[in-house]
Subunit: 429 residues, 2 copies
């Protein structure tokens, strides 16, 4: 066994970084045995150097992250700052100065993954980022390595714990969105500004990364259709229940039926209670994968939090250190398939549509005609009258999103349709 | 990209082997792109050479597996024969003649894993066997690599699809064991001789492999406590329901509370319906993992079958080929922790015990005294009388298996205890 330690620079020492540092210390002997050489914390870049950090030698702390990654003796840079800059520049600088990188930065990887992989490749270094998607759940390595001999057709996951907590609360207590969000905030599951979570930006970044790895194709954040879950109501949950479904915010990456293109999207959707994703509770994450040979797989676990994220970071750290000792690198970006990413209009799925309509004869015929004219086939219709008004709940067979959008636009123009109360996709059947 | 192909020798061309060969042909371009070099089937060793094998060049077929692995130009040997011999000798011969090995052979790995790893290490070759445990589910790679920076405390899984199919059938239809087994046999889920599955031998081999990897400790098949599920009755399922539980055949690998030893065992157990493993239906497999930092993870998918197993074999094949091109090897055996494996008597868990007792005053006091004398604390007792006989259902708090065994022996000696109808462990709480 080599006795000269591998040197690690830690960029960021917040909830995740401090856990990484703690485990590197408490599990030092195990890490040494598993890597084949000792691993040493050589520097910790922080914004507030005066804060006391238990277990971290104050001499290692610096505010100059750039100088740290430029030292030249660093083997692995662990980036847990988050955000685009300065993380991006620090990572590329790290490659230029001989280090490999482990990152937990989903936003950066989703936006600039191709450029970062290119920089890693140019300098023959590793770029690992298991922690960027679904926290502690081993997911990117299984997709990239375990399924490397298979053909992945669909990845559908709950990849944001905050929104799953809120939706689960709405489902189990009948609470409205705001009430459930307030509870999530009070319990620390939602941030003061929950936009990134509830509007689906966080999940969209993860969808871009998952689609890229699954389909060996570059998928940028802009390629991902995104719809938040702030408009999901208690009434939607009641409708879902009537169909034997619940509602989840899903990230869905799909290969088209002809295999020639892919799509990636994030939106709330109804899924049957019998689907394995339906029983994912609280802030847990789970990702359901369908492939040619393996069939249906699911990966489940905590999607966020200091310790779980640190577990994923350290798994990558061990792998990168081993590669370094072997004088090799792990699998880099695989984008050889270069499939086109189709727009949302091409996505084919089922829809649940609630309409407020006039309660008089002939309305159903009018509505059904609009669906037929747009080539959208109806599976079931349920009419409910009340005081001259009526609601009409239509569940369609599979149709393209473009056809559905056209249908809804035409429905809005009908005199007898007072309003479209809700439109929700139905997945997982 | 290298153009000289990597040469693969396939040992065995049954359900799994033929799928491996098929996918190597149909997905050749993808495999080439993912590996970085073409991969070529260089020979297929079979027992019955005359059988027509669609898509496999008859010139590649041989009955002389030994000559094939000795050729010297083989990069990777894929062993899907199963059983101890000739698989063991062929694998070690392959290493001696320069090849790395991908195997799906749980029995061999559980019995001789240490020796095979030593042979691989001696010749600086890879030995991968993801397909040996839980079929298509990426499990060994996540445990070995993704969680390499974490500390695994418990692995609890449904790792045998045949028995899960039978137990699920008993649970959902109220069928008895024999009736459910007959259906499993008719549908092809159970073999003509189901002993290896229903007596827990198959699951025990997988438990040995899982415990070894999870605890960085050699765990041999003989170290695994094993109890089959042939004595589980419809009455047991009724009892389980009353407790809000179902019954699964579980493989459980645990680190002792003090961290100084480990245990591995296979037996039927009651688990709460709310536990993620409770909803694993049919022939599916799932493995629940608890670690210090990641927390609770679950991996779910098909545990057997030609295609799913081939998916796992091919994932390993890609990894081994990449290592070969890199002039490196992946992580080998990790047994540095060398923790002692404790006997079943040291396992601490809860128990559900049904006793047939005389229906007269003082019986409960007698029974309760026996539990107390053996240090086993009672959680709940339920008495049910009928015609001078009564049944007494006792659920204990956590106690050692040795204490429980002593308790049951003493109970059997009581005049008022007519019989011990069933003893079942309660897990997952």
């Amino acid at each position: 066994m080599r006795t000269r330690p591998l040197k690690v620079a830690l960029l960021g020492c917040g909830v995740v970084g401090s856990e990484v540092a703690r485990i590197m210390t408490t599990h030092a002997d195990d890490l040494t045995a598993r890597i084949g050489a000792p691993v040493e914390l050589a520097g910790v870049a922080v914004r507030r150097p005066d804060r006391v950090r238990e277990g971290i030698d104050q001499d290692l702390v610096t505010t100059d992250a750039t100088a740290l990654v430029k030292r030249g003796d660093i083997d692995v840079v662990v980036e847990v700052i988050g955000g685009i800059e300065p993380a991006r520049t620090l990572i590329t600088t790290a490659f230029e100065h001989g280090a490999s990188v482990v990152s937990a930065n989903k936003a950066l990887l989703a936006q600039d993954g191709a450029a970062l992989h290119a920089a890693a490749g140019q300098h023959d270094k590793d770029l690992y980022y298991e922690a960027a998607v679904a926290g502690a759940i081993p997911l990117l390595r299984p997709l990239r390595e375990s399924l490397a001999g298979d053909k992945i057709n669909r990845v559908m996951g709950i990849v944001n714990g905050t929104t799953n907590f809120i939706l689960d609360k709405m489902d189990s207590t009948g609470a409205g969105y705001q009430e459930a969000l307030d509870e999530a905030t009070a319990l620390g599951y939602a941030e003061a500004d929950p936009t990134a979570d509830v509007e689906g930006f966080d999940a969209a970044a993860k969808a871009a990364i998952l689609a890229g790895i699954s389909f060996h194709t570059r998928v940028r954040l802009d390629d991902v259709y995104r719809e938040g879950m702030t408009e999901v109501t208690a009434a939607d949950f009641a409708s879902a229940r009537e169909m034997g479904c619940t509602i989840k915010l899903l990230a869905i990456c799909e290969r088209a039926a002809d295999g020639a293109s892919v799509t990636a999207r994030v939106h709330p959707a109804m899924i049957p209670l019998s689907h394995p994703l339906a029983s994912v509770r609280g802030a847990y994450n789970a990702v359901f994968v369908e492939s040619d040979a393996a069939g249906q797989l699911m990966f489940y676990g905590p999607g966020a939090g200091g310790s779980p994220t640190a577990s994923a970071v350290l798994g990558d750290l061990v792998a990168v250190c081993r590669n370094r000792l072997n004088g090799a690198t792990g699998p880099g970006e695989s984008a050889y398939a270069a499939l086109p990413v189709s727009p949302m209009g091409d996505v084919v799925t089922r829809y649940h549509i609630s309409l407020d309509v006039a309660d008089k004869p002939g309305v159903l015929a009018q509505v059904a005609t609009v669906f037929a004219e747009h080539g959208v086939s109806i599976d079931t219709v349920r009419q409910q009258g009340k005081d001259g008004e009526a609601s009409l709940v239509v569940v369609t067979h599979r149709a393209s999103d473009a056809a559905l959008t056209g249908t809804v636009e035409a429905l809005r123009k009908l005199d007898t349709v007072r309003g479209v109360a809700s439109i929700m996709r139905v997945e997982g059947e």
